[in-house]
Amino acid sequence: MSMNEPGLTDVDLVSRVLGGDSSFFEHVVKRYERLVYGFMLRKISDAGVAQDLAQETFLIGFENLARLKDHLRLKSWLMGIAGNLVRDHYKRRKMAGMPEGYDPELVGMDPLQTAEQHERHEVLYKALAKLSERYRAVLIKRYLEGLEYPQIAEELGLSIGAVEVCMHRARKSLGSAMKELMPDIDT
């Protein structure tokens, strides 16, 4: 059985999983993993936590799939789970006395990176976390989810021009942050 079944709709996938073939859920994961993870990264900006919660989203989705009455709304439903997990994440932090803000750290280090590259990434990552959510959303949809401008505009409910403006400003903000934090950075 091929693991790449682009022809299957969400309804088909859910029906197959509920029919007993849980392996089809992997298609669901592959179909929505970037979307869910991108959303998490926008809201949480900590890649490690975002990955964990993205995983959790699909696990909960799988466990409760039978409760999804309208299989057409699988995507919205999964995003709803993701939203709940984000909210719960922040609630837990608050109850555990953690500060409102956060100090995101990059997860792991690519061993092939030089120290300077890693430092640059750290700076950029922290600058990214400080951007407004809209700017962050545009960057994540472009760089992480790989969407084109018209798709980004449609998903965010903006005009294409507004997306372009956001992208320009986001890049400018990141550039300024990089220069401020690493004045000697050789761009």
């Binding site: 696990l59 909960i60 009455k69 709940n84 990434h121 084109e148 965010l156 507004a162 403006v165």
Partner: protein
């Protein structure tokens, strides 16, 4: 060439395939960069940021085997084949996933605390019951503590407003557990609107039980940026996943564990979730109690899941919900199912009501749904007005994307262009929506204007004005200009963006800001070949680069002007001169 256009060219070049940048644009950019060393330096910085950002996101990307990891964890987990036993709140997503480490200890601490609260609350409730019994039997002379028929106190403890007194909003009043959920709307299963056993948690993606197969929610691929977020940002955990936190719910209780008792701070069966705020702009609004009593609500009240709100004949009320900004017009009664779903009820037994919904990118959820009987109006983004009449619904979709769905009649899709109306008769097939010039009603425009002012409050406060007079000009006159502008079918997003661009441009002072807003409103009225949304967009673009009002206006109108095609023939025929041969 203006700076803004240069920026667009640069970003498009940097994005490469992401843009429609074709070779002519790259050539144009190359010429500009060659002529302007400063711009070239800026472009190089931009390229560097792009490369670094792309590199960063490669590191942030999900691991290749993410799906495999998920599937490994799924192994051995049984998918419940039958959810009938959970049908009563089958839209919730509990999970008793075991917590680990610090999270588990925090949760257990809060569980213990919750149990203590539950015991205290139970004892308080018992004492109150004894007191009430004492009063009834005449043993005590004090008033009963629990009184649900006081004209000024809602059953949930919210302070009502005596007609002749100043309102005393209890913004933070925590609702007492309701004695019963008798007012849960019945019949229509489009949304599970009964509060769940843990107090109002609703599936993050409320799902109608029946929908026609041809339901069109959105075009494929145009998914919401944000998920549907269920009711509350409040204290109760929403409870998918491992979240048990401080408020365990019966749904999450493992077999064998005692159910938590009801209490003021425990998510008991009747505790509801905070949905947002209500602002009374005009007239009177009442909370309709379970027994039909009306409690007048003050301005700036918190609103909760399950609230049923009725406006009077001259009321305008704004509900600020996570899913959208909702304006209720006169003689309208709604039940709030969640922060992105409300139900339009008959108003005091009469089939009428006026609702306007405004959704922009800052709102949560994939859509905002208004339910009316068997109908469901789903607004993905933009602004829509719905009027309930005796025989049907009138829908004006000003801007954005909306669909009307009926369980058996199918879906009616309002195209995304500005301005469509439909009159729907109950029980009859739909006609296609008509394209019309839609002006939003004044009562809706006023609240949209207020929403815009709220959105720009922060940049406006941070902006340095040269004098108090300048700031006063903005405070005094900008809202009025906005009231007129927001009647046009434009999203609040586009207006907010235009204003923020102008506010952040220090060269444009407060007087100019007000003038610009007025000019945009004029343009919306006069430039009819462009949608107001586009007009606002051009206004924002012009504001990015203008240094004074005249420059802004000049650029603004140039942007809106259609390209002019040359009407001269390519080879004009010259008349032959005497003695000369005729030209070919």
């Amino acid at each position: 060439m203006d700076r803004e256009h240069e920026h667009f060219l640069m970003n498009r070049a940097v994005d490469g395939a992401a843009s429609a940048a074709a070779n002519p644009e790259r050539e144009e950019l190359a010429r500009v960069l060659k002529a302007d060393p400063l711009l070239r330096s800026e472009f190089e910085d931009l390229e560097a940021v792009h490369v670094a950002t792309a590199s960063l996101f490669r590191q942030l990307a999900l691991p290749e085997d993410f799906s495999k990891r998920v599937m490994r964890r799924i192994q051995g987990v049984e998918v419940p084949a039958d959810a009938e036993e959970d049908a009563s709140d089958g839209l919730r997503l509990p999970s008793a996933r075991p917590l680990q480490g610090r999270a588990a200890s925090v949760v257990s601490q809060h569980r213990r605390r919750a149990r203590v609260y539950a015991i205290v609350a139970f004892m308080s409730a018992a004492a109150a019951l004894l007191l009430a019994l004492g009063v009834i039997t005449g043993a005590f002379s004090s008033k009963p503590e629990i009184e649900s028929t006081q004209p000024n106190t809602a059953a949930d403890g919210r302070q009502g407003v005596p007609d002749n007194e100043n309102p005393k909003p209890h913004r933070d009043s925590h609702p007492q557990p309701l004695p019963k959920d008798g007012e849960a709307p019945k019949g229509d299963s489009l949304v599970t609107d009964k509060p769940g056993p843990d107090g109002g948690k609703i599936d993050p993606a409320p799902v109608p039980e029946k929908r026609p197969d041809d339901q069109v929610d959105k075009p494929e691929g145009s998914e919401p940026e944000q998920p549907v977020v269920p009711d509350e940002p409040g204290d109760e955990p929403e409870a998918p996943g491992e979240v048990v936190e401080d408020q365990p719910t019966p749904e999450k209780v493992e077999p064998g564990e005692p159910e938590p008792k009801e209490g003021a701070t425990v998510a008991g069966p009747d505790e509801r979730s905070e949905l947002g705020h209500m602002l009374v702009l005009n007239g009177r609004v009442d909370l309709v109690g379970a027994d039909g009593t009306l409690t007048r609500l003050a301005d700036d009240q918190v609103i909760y899941t399950g609230d049923r709100i009725r406006t009077n004949v001259n009321a305008v009320v704004m509900l600020q919900l996570a899913g959208g900004d909702v304006t209720l017009g006169k003689d309208t009664e709604v039940s709030l199912d969640s922060d992105n779903t409300l139900r339009l009820e008959e108003c005091d037994g009469k089939p009428k009501g006026l609702i306007a919904v405004d959704r922009n990118s800052g709102h949560n959820g994939s859509s905002f749904d208004i339910l009316c009987g068997e109908y469901s109006l789903c607004l993905i983004n933009g602004a829509t007005v719905l009027e309930r009449k005796r025989n049907g619904l009138d829908i004006s979709k000003a801007v954005g994307f909306a669909t009307l769905t009926h369980e058996t009649l199918g879906s009616l899709v309002f195209p995304e262009d500005s301005g469509y109306e439909a009159e729907v008769d109950f029980g009859k097939e739909y006609d296609a929506p008509k394209a019309v010039s839609v002006l939003l009603p004044v009562w809706s425009a006023d609240t949209r204007s207020r929403a815009v002012m709220l959105a720009i409050a922060s940049p406006l406060n941070e902006r340095t004005f040269a004098s108090n007079r300048e700031r006063a000009e903005v405070n005094r006159n900008l809202p009025g200009k906005l009231d007129k502008l927001m009647r046009y079918p434009t999203t609040t997003d586009s207006v907010i963006e235009f204003l923020i661009n102008a506010i952040e441009r220090d060269l444009l002072d407060g007087f100019i800001l007000v003038k610009m807003t007025g000019e945009v409103e004029n343009a919306c009225a006069e430039v009819t070949e462009l949608a107001p949304e586009v007009v606002c967009y051009h206004a924002g673009r012009a504001a990015l680069v203008a240094e004074n009002f005249e420059q802004w206006r000049d650029y603004f109108y140039r942007l809106m002007r259609p390209p002019v095609e040359s009407k001269e023939p390519k080879n004009p025929k010259q008349p032959a001169q005497p003695g000369q041969p005729e030209p070919p």
